[in-house]
Amino acid sequence: MISFFRRNQVLLSAFLSVLFSLYIIAPAAKGRLRADPIGPLLMALMRPLQAGIRATILETKRVYEGYVALRSVSTENEKLKARIVELEAETSRLLEVESTDRRLRELMEFRSGLPPGSITASVIGNSASTWFHSFILDKGKADGVEKGMAVVSPLGVVGQVVSVTSKNAKVLLITDPHSGVDAMAQRSRARGIVAGSLENGPIMKYVKRSEDIQEGDRLITSGLDGIFPKGLLVGSASTVRKKSFGLFQYVEVALAVDPSRTEEVMVVNTGPAQAKD
């Protein structure tokens, strides 16, 4: 018996590992999640590395852009070249500062229209898998971020916080197939749920056949899900199809925000119990 276990220890442990994974996943079927003792530790471990890599990327980008801008001044003498290098680098830095400043100012203006307790955060890491659309924020429980809070940008809805550690938060993006935002057409008030899809990008589900929705209609949050404040831009209806059967229309959505290009976001506190400011 013991020799059987010893001979097949890898096979048995791999099998147990598969079963244990299913045991972890199982509560999700009922909409619950198991407590995660390792996640916060991993995130804390990775946080400085992710932030460091992000800073390195930005610095490399800045230096490279400075270098590219420099190549056209080859006829200048060495002294002027050196001066231009300095100036170009300075300009590049200032442009980056100005761009960041503009983005932050827009965020601040946008923030004034949001419920109190909203938090500004930066993206420091992305999803490690093709199959999931998420990113990691540099703010966590210590900054007032809670699970279930909405994540938005001045351009529109970005996603929702699905897990949070003391210094980080994981955001499920609106482009992920597991996400869902209660939305409505601004013109006709036709309602549905905007969710990601692996087929043709985000779609608006459960729009009744009788509802009036047309291509180009602006889609905004309805506020009825209790997560996203009412009136935030989600995107626009890019394709609307009524099949000859079925209860609902097929609506493809062009999102207002490209989450993969988002650098700063606002984490919005809609629940009255969560307000801290």
């Binding site: 490690a128 999931f132 899809s197």
Partner: protein
């Protein structure tokens, strides 16, 4: 012990790369699944109980940074390891180039297992053709990177094993 440390560090670095630098590649939503290549490598070349635990932790780490539900990637990676381990009884890869088709197949196993769990445990629309497209491009990317990574891992493993050998 040193070998376990090597693979643990490699796994840690791969997850870090997947969450940061690899997103700079112009591949749209696709992120090269380097963790999967490591998983197949361990299943074929270093199948131990430690590797099983390592693969579970690797999958769990990917879940921590990506998945809304914990355990999805841990499940898929464990299943890929199991498949690779069972395959290692009948295939033996000497040439790193041969790792490409094996990783391509393993990526499909991972994609299929993710879709299976989604269907069984979670409600999700929009799988179908889109899911197949994701699985295909994920598999192609992993297969392209597999020979290089296999060669590097093999070299690292040989180096550590030489260090362990008594003089």
């Amino acid at each position: 012990m040193k070998l376990s440390l090597l693979f643990l560090s490699v796994g840690f670095i791969l997850v870090l790369l997947q969450t940061t630098l690899l997103h700079l590649l112009p591949l749209g939503p696709f992120v090269p699944d380097l963790a999967l290549v490591l998983c197949v490598y361990l299943g074929l070349n270093h199948p131990t109980v430690g590797a099983v635990v390592g693969i579970f932790v690797l999958g769990y780490s990917v879940d921590v940074f990506s998945s809304p539900v914990l355990g999805l990637n841990a499940f898929a990676m464990s299943l890929v390891f199991l498949t690779a381990y069972l395959s290692s009884r009948c295939i033996w890869i000497h040439n790193p180039l041969l790792s490409a088709p094996v990783v391509f197949f393993a990526s499909w196993v991972k994609g299929a297992s993710l879709m299976m769990v989604w269907t069984l445990f979670l409600t999700m629309d929009g799988l179908g053709i889109g899911g197949l497209k994701y699985a295909f491009f994920d598999a192609i990317l992993a297969a392209i990177l597999a020979p290089g990574m296999f060669a590097l891992l093999k070299r690292g493993q040989s180096y550590v094993e030489e260090l362990r050998m008594p003089l």
